[in-house]
Symmetry: D2
């Protein structure tokens, strides 16, 4: 069955990266619980945000390569919808 | 005993916000596991990043108000160290 | 002749937006020259950065709609190159 | 006369950096005017945004070191106002 979403061919990699990010989030909770110095917590937050952004960039590239490209190849309105939808997602990433 | 780190007077709030972020990260794992559409996952990543940034901004404000202000009031080299340290943390936040 | 780059159908709009941004940059120079309060300059820098990001997002959408879509429709290696190139540009935007 | 705003001891440096950024903005206008390839314009926008952010970070550090630190040393309500004001400016930078 041809991959339905772009990322599905790399699913295991995404799952392990997201498992690590979940661990980072749990680590932040432990740092506050153990009265860690503010700056060290801020450093860990920046690392967690950067890890999330890297997952988002990989997902976006897969989405352009598969979902958007397939819609463009098929032609018609769906192509324009996918491009607007992808641009809105990119804007949210740039602003977050 | 006067709070050692700025955030310690609001510790429970930080812990519950970080617990929610951990849940958001787990939700991202579940979305990929259940083959959710890429754009919906990207939207959830932006929401998680925004939640992390809000925690970071609150921590930073508490840090300026307590740790940096105390060092400035005490005077001497520690004040300059704290200001450089806080600026480096802000730069990481702006760049992440 | 079909527009060569995506933005060329809206060229005048882009030129006037960029002229305004140039004016904002000149305004920043004047604010420092006139010893304006730091926070007011920082507010103007954020407004200028936001204006630049909006131009970038519009350019990106046009690029996806024309240059990337044309390459995808034509098929072959150029499509993959365009997708990687666009993703790298998006990553620079997210990180800047 | 002790510097009124933090940046005033480095005023010439700020003025020349902002003059360069104005030139970058003019360069963007020229790139569109000369039908430059979209990705090259996007790369230049990211460079201009990064230059603006670097000026903002330097201004912020000077502001913390002088305006905020002076208000903290003087004590009273002005210190709290300065800290809230600086935090709001940092939030705008993180979000832009």
């Amino acid at each position: 069955m041809e991959a339905q979403h772009g990322y599905m061919t790399e699913k295991d990699k995404y799952l392990s990266r997201l498992r690590r990010i979940e661990g980072q989030a749990r680590g932040l909770h432990r740092m506050v619980d153990e009265d860690t110095y503010c700056i060290d917590i801020l450093t860990q937050i920046s690392a967690t945000t950067a890890a999330l952004e890297n997952v988002a960039m990989a997902l976006l590239e897969d989405h352009l390569r598969h979902c958007v490209a397939d819609a463009v190849t098929a032609g018609g309105e769906e192509a324009e919808e996918k491009i607007q939808e992808a641009t809105a997602a990119i804007r949210r990433l740039v602003k977050s």
